[in-house]
């Protein structure tokens, strides 16, 4: 079956060990997680996981159902690239002496709409938010100028194109049910 890049979004209670349970479900099938981001969500006490990985529809469907079955997982869903807005953030630590002596480097920063967030006498930190392709393009351009000291990029973070926020509604319904 054809594989494509899926983004899996999971909401869970903020308890120790949930990440382990999430990754174990992929490990069990020897599925490689491409990117992973875990952070707090807009709901107090609820964590949000954003994973991206290559899979076929049938497999990802089964895995996500098993993820949602975990006691402390509130909701798990999967999306193809056209169903979500995805962004990544990258930080590039480059050499300040090279930046000063090579005018090409500052041109590259401007052309890519990157932002300088720190400058000192030894290094400069540049930040770029965007899609993977743009982030890697900037990295290659810096590398060509031999100025890169460090490079890091985040995993996918994504918001869905849905009009309805299902989890918020689910929790709201649950609250209403409990109050009754």
């Amino acid at each position: 079956m054809d594989k494509q890049l899926y983004t899996v979004i999971i909401y869970s209670e903020n308890l120790a060990g949930v990440l382990n349970q999430v990754t174990a479900e992929f490990t069990r099938r020897q599925m490689n997680i491409e990117t992973l981001n875990v952070s707090s969500s807009s709901i107090d006490g609820v964590h949000r996981y954003t994973l991206s990985l290559w899979s076929d529809e049938q497999t990802i469907n089964k895995v996500v159902k098993r993820l949602e079955k975990k006691i402390d997982v509130l909701r798990a869903s999967y999306y193809t690239e056209d169903e979500i807005f995805v962004q990544e953030v990258a930080l590039y630590k480059i050499s300040t002496p090279k930046l000063l002596e090579n005018r090409q480097i500052s041109k590259i920063i401007r052309h890519n709409h990157a932002r300088v967030i720190e400058i000192n006498s030894t290094y400069t930190v540049v930040e770029l938010t965007g899609m993977t392709e743009g982030i890697l393009k900037l990295y290659k351009e810096f590398v060509a100028e031999q100025c890169v000291l460090q490079f890091v990029k985040s995993g996918h973070i994504a918001v869905t194109r849905d009009v309805v926020e299902h989890l918020t509604e689910q929790l709201f319904d649950e609250d209403a049910r409990r109050r009754r």
Binding site: S12, E13, A16, G17, N20, Q21, A24, R28, Q58, N61, K62, K65, R66, E68, K69, I71, D72, V73, L74, L171, E174, R178
Partner: protein
């Protein structure tokens, strides 16, 4: 005013609050404060000391499966805890509600490779429904209440509590808690009425509907709802291994057992029906055989409480997610009465073939060595088909499941998903404690009996009236059968050099009898059942008998072999 007590005592109060009456356990360093507290609660709990922690887990399973209540075992950290892993795995695959409470080193030394420290939560997360470490006495009431709620609700399963020593010994202002809701957990999904309507319409239109009954019916206590459904639709029903006692064996619409060693008609007609209605079953590979040829002609309606079972192995045309005790009556009400006598009669043609080729020979061999099948049927008859059947794993399991008859729900305890040799003996102990009013018969082979043979000590100490039937063929019979059929008769490591089992029984003070001749069998069974307490009926059976019919591995379910 909350009472100030130790964490260990708080555990006792919490267990009492959950209605626990029996603890299967084994003491050790990190759980000693709990066992010390248990000393003050000898009247509140029956405390069953097993001889190996694996036995505790299986005994808790046997207790749970036979009674529907949550089984509890308490063990120490490290090896005590790891010895329960097989039971926990068995319980997750067979949806058995147990709570395993294990000691853990003090939280101050967690992660230091302290004596008998293992990362139990890490180890058990993939094999349990929920696994949690209690590090503070303040969390005990909440964690225990949550553990029992999770274990017993929805699709049941094993829960692990990893209980650090400092949480056991520190003082806490205790107040029992009740958990009946977890916002991230939906144990009983609300039925989708559209799916219910579609299912009812499809069943009403069906010409050859076929119901597959799994353990979900037993777990959901939906026996009467199932019968009402089958009777209104006049729908033949076959049961999975774990669903065998969900319908009485002689129920008119029951057509037999599914699967690798199930009945020919059930398997063959799976590929003839036009609507397949799966109820609380999970399309295990042992039921479906080769999926590429499985029921391709049929529309599939799948009733299950667990959403993750839908489309897992067999694609459902109409999934009906929910508790079958709730969804079955909804469908029954909306569907029209059915008439399928011709279709139902078609099962009998296959039965005739199976009877001639297999069953008659298994039950009435006439001469030659004793056969496993006839022993199972005779024990069933002698108990008026009302005993709880416990099995070990292998030929003894398939033969006893095939030839036992069931008249009451919750009458079969067997390790279906994990296929755990050594399950039978301790599970039977659990059953005698959970349902003391019933006769408990465990069938074992000479291989499986030795895997937890130390539990004879528990039987002795507890005076557990386990009726043990050892079907001894001096082989690991099921593997030998596969070697004969698929590995060119190369009996690698399957012959068993056996001890004198009757002497072993005698050493534990358990009466026993060895039967070699057919003429002695009836009297020996009678003696077993009439002797108070435990009894070992050691039967020398045909050494190279095979369980038939059989769907060979990888084959289509309609291609059963008979010899």
């Amino acid at each position: 005013m909350k009472e100030i007590i130790t964490g260990a005592e708080a555990l006792m109060r919490s267990l009492m609050n959950e209605g626990v009456d029996t603890i299967f356990g084994y003491p050790g360093g990190s759980i000693m404060p709990v066992f010390d507290a248990m000393y003050d609660h000898r009247d509140d709990f029956r405390q069953v000391v097993v001889r190996h922690e694996q036995g505790a887990a299986h005994a808790a399973q046997g207790y749970a499966r036979s009674s529907g209540k949550v089984g509890v075992c308490i063990v120490t950290s490290g090896p005590g805890a790891t010895n329960t892993l097989t039971g926990i795995s068995d319980a997750i695959l067979d949806s058995t509600p147990i709570v395993v409470i294990a000691g853990q080193v003090a939280s101050s030394v967690l992660g230091t490779d302290a004596f008998q420290e293992i990362d139990l939560v890490g180890v058990t997360q993939p094999i349990s429904k929920w696994s949690y470490q209690i590090r503070r006495a303040e969390d005990i009431a909440w964690a225990v209440a949550r553990a029992f709620y999770i274990a017993r609700s929805g699709r049941p399963g094993p829960v692990v509590l990893d209980f650090t020593k400092n949480a056991q010994t520190s003082q806490v202002a205790f107040e029992p808690e009740i958990v009946d809701n977890i916002r991230s957990y939906v144990p009983y999904p609300k039925p989708d009425m559209n799916a219910v309507r579609e299912a009812a319409e499809l069943i009403s239109r069906a010409r050859r509907p076929f119901a597959l009954i799994g353990q979900g019916v037993e777990l959901g206590e939906a026996h009467e709802e199932l019968k009402a459904f089958l009777e209104k639709g006049n729908i033949p029903a076959a049961r999975t291994l774990l669903g065998l006692s969900a319908l009485p064996s002689d129920y008119p619409l029951n057509v037999g057992m599914l699967g690798m060693h199930g009945n020919f008609g059930c398997n063959a007609n799976t590929n003839q029906c036009d609507v397949l209605i799966a109820i609380g079953m999970r399309f295990s590979d042992r039921v479906t055989g080769n999926l590429n040829t499985y029921a391709k002609q049929a529309k599939v309606i799948h009733l299950d409480i667990d959403r993750a079972e839908i489309d897992k192995n067999v694609k459902a045309d109409i999934p009906v997610i929910g508790d079958c005790k709730e969804t079955l009556p909804l469908i029954t009400e909306l569907m029209s009465k059915g008439e399928h006598s011709e279709w139902i009669a078609s099962f009998a043609d296959y039965d005739a073939i199976e009877n001639e080729k297999v069953t008659n020979k298994a039950l009435n061999p006439g001469c030659g060595p004793l056969k496993m099948g006839e022993v199972a049927r005779k024990v069933s008859e002698a108990t008026e088909h009302s005993a709880v059947l416990v099995t070990d794993v292998g030929q003894n399991q398939m033969m006893s499941c095939r030839y036992f008859k069931y008249t009451k729900p919750h009458s079969l305890l067997t390790s279906g998903g994990l296929g755990t040799m050594g399950y039978g003996l301790p599970a039977a102990i659990g059953a005698t404690i959970a349902v003391p009013e019933r006769t408990v018969c465990v069938f074992m082979g000479d291989g499986g009996m030795q895997m937890n043979i130390q539990e004879l000590g528990t039987i002795m100490e507890q005076k557990a009236p386990v009726k043990m039937i050892l079907l001894n063929n001096n082989y690991l019979g099921n593997v030998r059968q596969w070697q004969e059929l698929f590995f060119n008769h190369r009996y690698s490591c399957t012959p068993m050099l056996n001890p004198d089992y009757n002497m072993i029984a005698a050493a534990y003070g358990i009466p026993s009898r060895l039967v070699v001749d057919r003429a002695d069998l009836d009297a020996a069974i009678k003696e077993m059942l009439e002797t108070p307490g435990a009894f070992l009926l050691h039967v020398a059976v045909e050494e190279e008998d095979n369980v038939m019919p059989m769907v060979p591995p990888g084959a289509s379910i309609c291609d059963m072999i008979f010899e």
